[in-house]
């Protein structure tokens, strides 16, 4: 009997030590993030300042101007995307996020997201297949539009970023049993099984340190995960190293259920906790 108690206690102590190590690591990552963010913002800004000055100098031909404008757009698009993730994660962490349900045209949203990433898709010469299995009547889906948009953007951005050149990306959308399902498959390097959980932690990426080949701050998936919790969804990852990954989101239709619809228990069921003579239960 005593042995069991001490086993339990040792187990708890081990667990505590693990959690503690993770928290220390997470704090360290936050510090790293804050020191890296400077470069991530300054570099694209410096590029845009230079290029826009060159354009306004009047000495460039049309082709060059177009080329510079494209670079400016790509740099700003990326910065905007990174900042959005940073702001969303800050909002999630501060508890300020609100749910705002509207009817979302999912097909159109996927199309818009892809259009916004077109320059990155072209740059890697990727082929994107979109299969829309959503029946006509289900195309307007009740959920939070802004949050769904940032989730899809992050998954598309990851699929592009981790795809090798000339490969394809497959996107399948469907509504099954009133639940929106969108899966995004890439044929990139996949995820090491031991990293499968870690990629959802903030500021973590599959590859880290000064040798990492990919940009970004490791916020995307943790933002997706948190936003999915808010809109009542889940994220499923299927992956094999060197054989690509499929990220699938499943989102419940928001049922516009208001407080008035909930069932309260019957008689004698109002308790007022008023000051100063509150009842203590």
């Amino acid at each position: 009997m005593n042995l069991n108690i001490s086993d339990d206690r040792n187990e708890l102590i081990r667990e505590l030590a693990n959690v503690n190590a993770r928290l220390v690591a997470s704090e360290k990552l936050k510090t790293n993030f804050l020191s890296n963010i400077r470069n991530e913002i300054n570099n694209p800004l410096a590029a845009v300042l230079e290029l826009s000055k060159a354009i306004s100098d009047d000495s460039l031909d049309d082709e060059q101007i177009k080329k510079f404008a494209r670079i400016i757009h790509a740099e700003m698009f990326n910065l905007d995307y990174q900042l959005r993730n940073i702001f969303f994660s800050a909002e999630v962490e501060s508890g300020d996020l609100q749910l705002s349900v509207v009817k979302v045209d999912v097909k159109k949203m996927i199309k818009n997201v892809l259009a916004s990433f077109q320059h990155q898709i072209d740059k890697k010469n990727l082929l994107v297949f979109t299969i829309n299995n959503i029946r006509h009547g289900d195309n307007l889906f009740d959920t939070d539009s802004e949050k769904l948009h940032i989730i899809i953007s992050n998954l598309v951005s990851n699929a592009i970023q981790y795809s090798d050149e000339n490969k394809s990306i497959e996107i399948i959308a469907d509504v099954v049993d009133g639940q929106l399902e969108i899966s995004i498959k890439d044929y990139g390097l996949g995820i090491d099984p031991e990293n499968k959980k870690m990629i959802f932690d903030r500021f973590r990426q599959g590859q880290e340190g000064s040798t990492k080949n990919y940009s970004g701050h490791g916020l995307g998936l943790s933002v997706c995960q948190s936003l999915l919790e808010i809109i009542e969804g889940e994220l499923i990852v299927q992956t094999e190293p060197s054989n690509g990954s499929t990220f699938t989101i499943k989102v419940k239709r928001a049922d516009n259920e208001s407080l008035d619809d909930i069932v309260l228990s019957d008689n004698g069921n109002d308790f007022l906790f008023r000051d100063p003579n509150s009842m203590i239960f």
Partner: protein
Amino acid sequence: MLVQEFNKHYLYPSSLFVSNSEVVVDTILGSCVAVCLFDSKIKAGGINHYMLPYWNGEGLASPKYGNIANEKLIEKLYKLGATKNSLVAKVFGGANQINSTINVGDRNVLVAREQLETFGIRIISESIGGGVGRKIRFNTHTNEVLLKFLSKKEEK
């Protein structure tokens, strides 16, 4: 007859709300816990709604977790000018699902008590534990909380 119209706010899980004007905040609790804080001097109140006791380093450090939700709530009230001595707390929720062995509800309540004690904030009333969920309505200006128990089926 005059019906007074209040500003209303529905509080979702993992979020929190603070105001120094009069807002009526509704939320629904199962095993989740909501801590209502009120500063009588500046007439400001705030409420959180967390689902799990402690953040373990996974995902974002959001107020889904009690230790973070309580700290953030206290910080936000301090920013409005609240002080430790004039803040009081009410704690609600933490029901336990019958089939759950880990008693998330109980652990959620424990975190609230421990943290409020650490911060030196007195709990003046509470309705916690049990097997059914609760709906609460908190007035940020008067510190009144109206509580109703849900019927068994509606547990969240």
